[in-house]
Symmetry: C2
Subunit: 527 residues, 2 copies
């Protein structure tokens, strides 16, 4: 018996499965580099990862792929809905990889690696005169990339095309509208929180040392409580920037347990990364070697880390669980600083500061609003790189009331722009916004969620997330996903309400002028 | 300025560098699977490794490669000597991969993986009726492979072609001649050793428990003393069959520290694997992304593990170092079983037994002689698979004086034949033979080598091996390598002398009929 000839769609499935296998291999090698690899093996490893990227690029750029895409799209009505969605994602992946000339793809890769080196070298001194030409080059290149993707994917703007390469299926207009609501409310909320905090009870500082191996044990317990499957993933407690990687069936995350003066940083990096990891572990098994089986870009991914870190693990009840575990692990039955109340006070301090990655929950989104506004203006040409430091400092003053003393603490602190990751930043604040909206829906459906956290029972929350987010993979757009999970499109209302209740002690009451619930209307010519 | 067009040889260099990068990536992923990977991530990992093998196969099978090979070979007189050798190795690699039909290559891969599963399932029960058809299929397939390789690479016989795919550049006639000398001498030596051992002092047994983590520390100390570079490699002390893998700049080996009753097994698996690892670490850096920069096949590799395990780490002086370290690590200052003399007695026991991988140094080569003779006869068709169990048992009786009670302890114990690794076995005994010859030359050049081992100083031996073996990569044939290092071609004399001195307490005195030094003469027709 001869097998029937493969359809174009079947060819595509096989090709993308192979690309996913290779990219999973590369993801494991990257994670190994951070966690296990000996320190002088870097040259070999870099070559390996580049060779795999090159292979994956060739496999997608193969002219056959375009032919299969064209043929499968013609015939798509006969495909099941999931396969139709898969085909959309395949075309998008093809455009992203093959839509650029070889020269442009090579230049993008070079900006990624050279930019990383330059950033590492110059961010400490903040030597803007040495850095600014590189920013210009990176932004010019990304503008060209964005123009191509806008045209080939039908994005509303060049910036939207870049933003969507990280956070797909989300309109720039939606982001702009919801961020405007945030921008309006945040400065007042921050002032109110700082004022309230000054008048309230002051926390006792933690007194170290908290040995890294005990922090690792605490991290392990938290991860276990959250429902991470250790038979299909691994936690590494090391002294490095926390991150999550690997493949869906072998999720590896790192947490940083090196700060012996406080274990709270390890606690929250663990909960954050385990949130990312749970998402990966619970993507749909049946589609895991297809684009539709993967997680939705970065905004949704940051919501899954954020909901665990900012929502669940800052609930008053959670601190009862944390107190019990910390007292056991560090063997400090009587340390008053380890009481649930004190840990909660410590974890909720608000303090406007210059560095985004050190910011507290309330001031964090201000850092993102600033970067989003600036990178959009830089891409659209309404702000020049020469004027960036001043624009940055003005924005900090207006949003947080502080002015960075130098560019190292200002527009040179992040790795994103020098490495070409323009359009990434909104994902962080969108993640927090999505998290607040999802958490409200989850608690509405399962009112026991907060009180179960008192004993470390994350199960009701985890299962709700699994059903409503994780198991959907990339089958829905972000809007469809949010409507299905919460009954509403993405909006800032729940996030502002969450921040207002937690930091101002009251529900959020928008003024009449800022109805954050209304979606933007299509503009008419002349408006 | 336009770059000069690449020569065919330059194209080959780039292509093979890429293939080596991908195979290094795969080697790291395989090692990670044994050491770090969570237990339920196997399906993903198997897919990744298969995808990389497939990619590497396509890269070498690409019709361009044959064209480049043809063109570069035409022009080879203009290449430096190292490049000429590289070209020979590239052609050989191409024949091995691309010389087989796709069907045959796929069948070989299937025999590897299916055979592994069948072996794991059936070796315990030794159910020959279920296994023998698979042996037939594997051997038939390998015969076909050997016929193709013989023709395309000009090997002297089908068996030589298969043997050379593991241990290249060595004539089957040389092996046959030296193995004949071994076969003649071994049974008498073994009888003499057992007899002598019975009359001599008896060792005190070790009394456990020796905790795995302390055995790991002992292993780490040994590895460090041997000069392993931990910045470019890693040791994993785990409960699994010891092995070495990874890439030359990231060598990873495992050692088994799980036997709590005795630490000697961990000691010797560590020293053995670290011997392999040192070879890899010291292959020539300048050529590491070319075939010529890699190690010489398995016979030489087994010599580098063997010289450390069997020669250096069984010297009387070594046991002084081992005693000191073991007493410290296990905190047993007064345990009489840990004296250097007692450890030496324990490490040198001779006891004919059924299982190859558990055999002592003296009886081990008998297991290899048997397998080499049988697999050659099976490939040449002078022995049928149906007659294998009887032939095996007869051989065991004649070489070691014992008869296996069943096939599980007989012809079904090894993974090699069911997985298609026909021609591999000689490498083990050749490795020991080469090791003895090299060790004699090293000690002749540096008479201090044994006594330096008393303080764990492996440096004189390691540097001699680095200069004479490791740094040569694959630039010489095995014969050239041996002549350059020792002044003589590979021969059994030093090995027999080593065994005779160690186990019979006297130099080896071959009878007039067995002059092991004479190389085989070319046969004349009618002889």
């Amino acid at each position: 018996m001869t097998a029937a000839p493969k359809s174009a769609y079947q060819h595509l499935q096989e090709r993308f499965a192979k690309i996913i296998d290779i990219s999973n291999a590369s993801a494991i090698l990257s994670k190994d580099k951070e966690t296990v690899m000996p320190k002088n093996s870097d040259e070999d490893r870099t070559r390996q990862i580049m060779a795999l990227a090159d292979v994956a690029h060739s496999l997608i750029k193969d002219p056959q792929v375009e032919k299969w895409l064209d043929a499968a799209e013609k015939d798509k009505r006969n495909l099941p809905k999931t396969d139709q969605r898969n085909l959309v994602l395949m075309r998008r992946a093809w455009v992203s990889q093959a839509g650029l000339s070889d020269e442009l793809a090579t230049e993008l890769a070079r900006i990624g690696s050279e930019g990383q080196k330059l950033h590492t070298e110059l961010r400490k001194t903040g030597d803007w005169s040495k850095m600014k030409d590189w920013y210009k080059h990176s932004l010019d290149t990304l503008r060209t990339v964005g123009e191509i993707r806008k045209e080939k994917l039908g994005a509303a703007s060049v910036y939207e095309a870049l933003f969507n390469s990280f956070s797909p299926d989300l309109a720039e207009a939606t982001v702009a509208h919801e961020f405007a609501a945030l921008e309006k409310a945040l400065p007042g909320l921050i002032r109110e929180a700082v004022d309230r905090q000054g008048k309230g009870p002051q926390p006792l500082p933690l007194k170290g040392p908290f040995p890294p191996e005990q922090q690792a044990e605490l991290s392990r317990r938290l991860t276990e409580a959250m429902g991470f499957d250790f038979t299909r993933g691994k936690m590494f407690a090391i002294d490095a920037h926390p991150s999550t990687g690997g493949s869906a069936s072998d999720v590896r995350f790192t947490t940083d347990t090196s700060d012996e003066e406080s274990f709270l940083s390890a606690v929250y990096s663990t909960v954050h990364e385990a949130g990312h990891a749970l998402y990966e572990q619970n993507t749909p098994l049946a589609h895991r070697y297809q684009p539709v089986g993967g997680s939705m870009g970065m905004a949704v991914h940051e919501s899954q880390s954020g909901i665990m870190e900012r929502n669940a693990a800052h609930e008053p009840e959670f601190f009862q669980f944390l107190e019990k575990q910390a007292r056991e692990v560090f063997n400090r039955p009587d340390d008053p600083a380890l009481s649930a109340e004190n840990l909660q006070l410590l974890a909720n301090r608000v303090n406007p500061s210059f560095i985004r990655i050190e910011a507290d929950e309330l001031t964090y989104p201000a850092h993102i609003l600033l970067r989003t506004k600036l990178e959009k203006a830089l891409i659209e040409g309404t702000l020049s790189v020469d004027d960036l430091p001043q624009a940055w400092n003005d924005g900090m003053k207006s949003l947080l009331g502080i002015t960075p003393p130098d560019n190292a603490k200002g527009c040179m602190q992040d790795v994103h722009w020098p490495t070409g990751a323009v359009g990434y930043f909104p994902a962080y604040a969108l993640g927090n916004m999505i998290a607040a909206q999802l958490y409200a829906a989850a608690v509405k459906a399962h009112p026991e969620i907060p009180k179960e956290l008192a004993t470390g029972n994350f199960t009701p929350l985890r299962l709700w997330l699994k059903d409503n987010i994780h198991s959907k993979g990339s089958m829905l757009t972000t809007d469809e996903l949010m409507v299905a999970a919460t009954g509403e499109k993405l909006n800032a209302k729940y996030y502002l309400d969450h921040l207002s209740r937690r930091y101002a002690g009251k529900p959020y009451a928008p003024s009449a002028a800022a109805n954050t619930n209304a979606q933007p209307k299509a503009r008419k010519p002349g408006n």
